[in-house]
Amino acid sequence: MSDQALLAGTRRFALKAMLAAGGALAFEIEFAAAQGKSAPAAAAAKLTAFVQINADNSVTIKAKNPEIGQGVKAMLPMLIAEELDVAWSAVRVEQAVADQAKFGEQFAGGSMSTPMNWMPMRQAGATARAMIMAAAAKQWTAPAAELSTANGEVIHATTGRRAPYAALAQAAAKEAVPAAETLKLKDPAKFSIIGRPVRGPDTVAIVAGKPLFGIDTQLPGMVHAALLTAPVRGAVLRSHDAAKALAVAGVRKVVVLRQLGEEDGPVDGLAVVADSWWTANEARKLLDVQWDNQGREKHSDASFAASAKAAFAGKPAEAVLASGDTNAALAGASKVLKEQYTYPFIAHATLEPQNCTALFKDGKLEIWAPSQMPDEGRQLVAKTLGLEPAAIAVNLTRIGGGFGRRLQNDYMVFAAKIARDMPGVPVKLIYDREEDFKLDFFRPGGFHQFEAGLDANGKLVAFRDHLVTFGAGGKPGRGAELPADLFPANIVANADLGMTVMESNIPLGWLRAPASNTLAFATQGFLDEVASAAGKTLPALMLELLGDPRLIMAPKLPDVPDYFQPPPFHTGRAAGVTREVMKIAKWDDAAVKGRGFGFYFSHLGYFAVVADCAAGADGAVRVSKIWVAGDIGSTIINPLNAEQQIRGSMIDGMGHVISGLKVPISGGQVQVANYDTYALPRIDVVPPIEISMVKTDNPPTGLGEPAMPPAIAAIANAISSLTGKRVRSLPYEA
């Protein structure tokens, strides 16, 4: 599609309007579904892995991906139900088990559920519908082309014949599965479920306090396990005395965990197993343990800062991008800016602590896991414990927050190991909150040194970034990369990107919008300074840099699956959300004290945020208002959930900047143990948030992550504007 066509197809709409229009009806029909009891088993017909038609003409649809609060348990079944052509009130949603041979990829990460499943799930619904229609065509000896469907019924308009799906389902189950290319998908103008507000399928159960989460797993004869690991991450268990712990009434066993877990974060520890988790956790405190730190205590924030300082005195160890002649452009520039930006390690701090239940019986392992990558977990358990993957069954539970923490499966390995040591006894492992912080895989800290050159007209002609980051063997760890398509290096004539990798004992993990959540802060903060130096606002500079609508291709990465390859960047879509957020914030070209802007493109979503800050009565800086504009393509599948994802992203972004999130490291130890020293945003700091979505003629993409990075930048820039002191280090500290 041409850029002109793309822009011509651009329509704007407000989520608020979407929720108001048609909201009431959808609420009503969906409420019935949520209230529904489980489907009757008798005479149900299973058509495909995803679709079962029940005798009462209700439909059971499998939700294949882990639900971490991103709304996927409604979203994927909505796609199926739409093309199956049933009313949402007739749908019962059931969580699928981990079985990728049957369901395809099952993970919650990278905001990929929407782009990866938009077509396949619609096809899954259309497949079942085609099988039902084929059965009807045979029974009625009517040409298939004359049949239509509506609301869970097949209709033959010529004869006036109609039948509910349930009447045809047994026959349909025997029909051949049609080839994907023969399926006819709905005209989006006729969507009756996609685009309508739909509640979470578990909302009623959550409000009633029903067992849904991993931590709620109950099995007959179950025992409970609590972990103790070293204060210094990666320390080796030298010796221990468990006598006092074993003497506590109710304690059953102490299991030694040696170098179990992720390859880059193996952990030694002890698990106390008891008839109550509270007993196990109390007895844990009676363990007498000697750890061998093996020198890991040398790592600290001070040592990281010293290494970064040394690195900035020289050249980056690895070049990431060199385009044009940055040295010459800087030498010839009218104005040069050079600044350093830094941000700390942070933790995921999911409210449901890491946990897992496992039962090892007759050589087979069954696991109940709140995991974002359950099949990876199965493979890791198989490898670590020397079991066949086929001997391990993984049940997916609802997950009390993911944020990327549960892309790692350490808890699954630990629970499996303990269970294997206690055959026939189900074991539930729960991390105490302090262990949960200690055993996190942290969002990496990092240090940037930027340089920019402006010509006599205030045009950005050179851009350089040296990132001092974390990893091993010269390679950056999870979320610690410097991408070659970093904005504005991908757009400025002379650009130079390089990095230097530091080693530490702190394991790294992906945290919501990995890499983007730090890069947005640093690059958009520095560009805000560049804009000021040129006498402009950041959005004005952005629009100037973005220029005419066009696609900018990103260099391909080796050894990365297609769906994680960096996508092309569309300057027109970026400018579209920039203009839209300016419009809803009623902001013209002039700088406003206390107002900041941030743009970022990540996870296929284009988002621009404006934040206003003000000093409260106590003098503390508060965020007073946030405006967001986003472009995730043609369709917002579930606007009720979309609003939550975007608001949540803004609030999460506030945590990074203003609530004070950081995990200090000293003596190789994580210096955070609970929520008192890890201050996440609370209800009393949350400002009004105004959202507008720009629709473009592109396939819909995900919403779990891309709104957050620009929020971090906008809030930091707003504070810089308010205080007159540039925020170059996160979190903001007055």
Partner: protein
Amino acid sequence: MKTVLKVNGQSREVDVPSDKPLLWVLREDLGYVGPKFGCGQGLCGACTVLMDGQAIRACLTTLDAVGTAAITTIEGVAALPIGKKISEAWIDIDVPQCGYCQAGQIMSAVALLESNPTPADDEIDAAMAGNLCRCGTYHRIRDAIVKASGRKAAGGTNV
């Protein structure tokens, strides 16, 4: 130690140490898994239950501190007139994202409306600030409390 607890209008006998926190008695010994373990130190509010109508942190409240007080958990909340209104508002507005904190949020909201039937926006914030929501459902929490109170929204939050 044998103790009789009053939970959701029923008398339930348990035989556990008297210093076992109420949260774990509810979850492990009585099968009420609605109250959640979050922090173990009264910092996150996920374990909030009502003790004689007051919102308390069950993770910090030992069994012997409960005595003869009546405990209400999320499982029993719909039996209270205000609890029913709150639950309905929570469902209508679809407050939960991951849902893990919501039992605690609802219990704090019930305690608030029991003592202050039509709280102002700042009173809602003050009463609910002890309950952490990692997903950030705070706008809908406010909206649901306002709705359950019967007050017309003052426009404190918007989309």
